[in-house]
């Protein structure tokens, strides 16, 4: 874990060529991971990843870095379990530290209804290959001694579902590691280049119009976060996506170890400790859609009040930093990956507030789809055509706060 400076990350920047086999819009985790797997597994190195800011400056740099697989529908559990397993071996795969640490995640239940829900979820998780067990309040207290089992008198802890494989990783390092892996294999990453439009040849998308001039491409993949609807509109693609802000904050240094991740579906908040010892607290996304990155005091007040019910000691901490990301929340709370109905234009979107944990699997599956032209098994249920087919993947558990 203490290897911040052991090796320099070798990032090599290139002048853009006029044409590539694959152009990926958005150099966040998903875009760079897709580029990496395209070059590494499928031998397609003629790839450009175009980014409006610096790499990882969007939601990859603004999330709360929790990796888990305890989802609510079989398709999602299998997908995220695969991603969680890829994360476990990612350091060796990319030959770069991502500060991956398995911590275990507890979801607390305060009512009998919630207990039933958590029991059902843990059984479904186990059936689909993700280890989740129910634990008693005293076991929860053992895992997290700071926990107030009376929940401040108002939210007594009746039990919890425990997902031992849940982990955290350093988000920037994941982005850099994938960028380095991709660049070593010949991928061009073009930061500070804005995509202003898509090149069309009849119904087909044949490239992108950028602030550095037009770039032709055999396939264009949008791995954009909050602004995906704008990109898709250039191709005439309609998406079931709304962009909502999600806020989070960190406290100052907390002197004692706080090993696990604690989540709460009733209070809609979660907490973990960062490598720097700060407590990282997040909650549900803002109710109204917006592209504004402004943080709000009402969020701080609401989520710190919630956290004080469960962890009374946080009232002695100070808030150090607060930030906002704009999340592409899909209508059924599941990702949208694959073909769009427009030739040459693919999307990986709808990653909302749950995209970080899916970076390895999302990248791997999208790369396979682009390279082979066939949707792999794990990706297939998440196509855009599921909405027209009336087969949505409703998974409110995906946000972790429902």
């Amino acid at each position: 874990m203490i290897d911040f400076i052991e090796r320099r990350i070798a990032l090599e920047w290139h002048e853009p060529r006029r044409s590539y086999e694959v152009v990926i819009i958005g150099a966040g985790g998903h875009g760079l991971a897709t580029a990496y797997y395209l070059a590494h597994r499928h031998g397609i190195a003629s790839v450009a990843v175009i980014e409006a800011g610096y790499i990882g400056s969007g939601n990859s740099g603004r999330n709360t870095t929790i990796i888990r697989a305890n989802y609510g529908i079989p398709e999602a559990i299998r997908f995220y379990q695969h991603s969680l397993e890829l994360y476990q071996t990612l350091e060796e795969e990319l030959d770069s530290s991502i500060m991956h640490e398995t911590r275990g995640l507890m979801w607390l239940a305060h009512t009998e209804t919630q207990m039933r829900g958590e029991r059902a979820r843990s059984l479904l998780n186990r059936a689909c290959g993700a280890e989740t067990v129910m634990i008693t309040p005293s076991e929860a207290k053992e895992l997290c001694p700071q926990l107030d089992l009376s929940g401040g008198g108002r939210y007594p802890v009746l039990g919890a579902s425990y997902h031992p494989a849940a982990a955290t990783a350093r988000h920037d390092r994941v982005v850099w590691a994938y960028a380095q892996g991709a660049m070593r294999r010949g991928v061009h990453v073009l930061p500070h280049t804005t995509v202003t439009g898509l090149l069309r040849d009849g119904p087909r998308v044949t490239g992108v119009e950028t602030s550095a001039g037009p770039i032709a491409a055999g396939v264009v993949l949008s791995a954009v976060g909050g602004r995906v609807s704008t990109i898709a509109a250039h191709a005439g693609v309609r998406l079931p996506i709304r962009t909502h802000p999600l806020q989070a904050f960190v406290t100052n240094f907390y002197d004692f170890p706080f090993p696990g991740i604690i989540g709460d579906t009733e209070l809609a908040c979660y907490v973990s400790q960062t490598e720097r010892g700060q407590l990282l607290i997040g909650a549900e996304y803002d109710a109204q859609p917006s592209y504004s990155l402004a943080s709000s005091f009402s969020f701080l007040r609401r989520s710190s009040a919630k956290m004080m019910h469960l962890l009374p000691f946080v009232r002695d901490l100070r808030i150090l930093r607060q930030w906002t990301g704009i999340c592409d929340i899909s209508a059924d709370f599941s990702p949208v990956m694959g073909e769009t109905g427009v030739a040459g234009f693919l999307v990986t979107t709808g990653w909302g507030t749950w995209g970080f944990k899916a970076i390895p699997a999302g990248g791997e599956q999208m790369a396979e789809l682009i390279a082979t032209g066939r949707a792999p098994t794990l990706l297939q249920p998440f196509g855009l055509d599921r909405f027209a087919a009336d087969h949505t993947m409703a998974d409110p558990g995906s946000a972790g706060t429902h």
Binding site: R227, S229, T230, G236, R238, L239, P240, I241, R242, T243, P245, A287, Q288, P289, S290, Y291, S292, A294, S296, F297, S298, A331, F387, A388, T392
Partner: protein
């Protein structure tokens, strides 16, 4: 934080309201009736800029109102 003027209750914080979705039409170029239905149910304009929206004053007078909001800055315009 966003503040919204309710015609009945005056200026109230956003937490009292429930977002009820944008007022929108289905694009003209979608002609197939079934596709228009899919668009109506699932698809969103998700505009970055001016939108016309319905809001419900849930913790107030419990009436619906229509307003113009700039989603790039999250400010109510009218």
């Amino acid at each position: 934080m966003l503040w919204i003027t309710c015609p009945t209750c005056g200026l109230r914080p956003v937490e009292e309201y429930r977002f009820g979705g944008e007022l929108r039409g289905i694009p003209e170029w979608i002609t197939d009736p079934a596709e228009r239905d899919v668009d109506y149910v699932w698809m969103r304009d998700n505009l970055e800029g001016m939108t016309t929206e319905r809001w419900f004053h849930a913790a107030g007078c419990r009436r619906w109102l229509t307003l113009r909001r700039d989603t790039s800055t999250d400010t109510v315009v009218a």
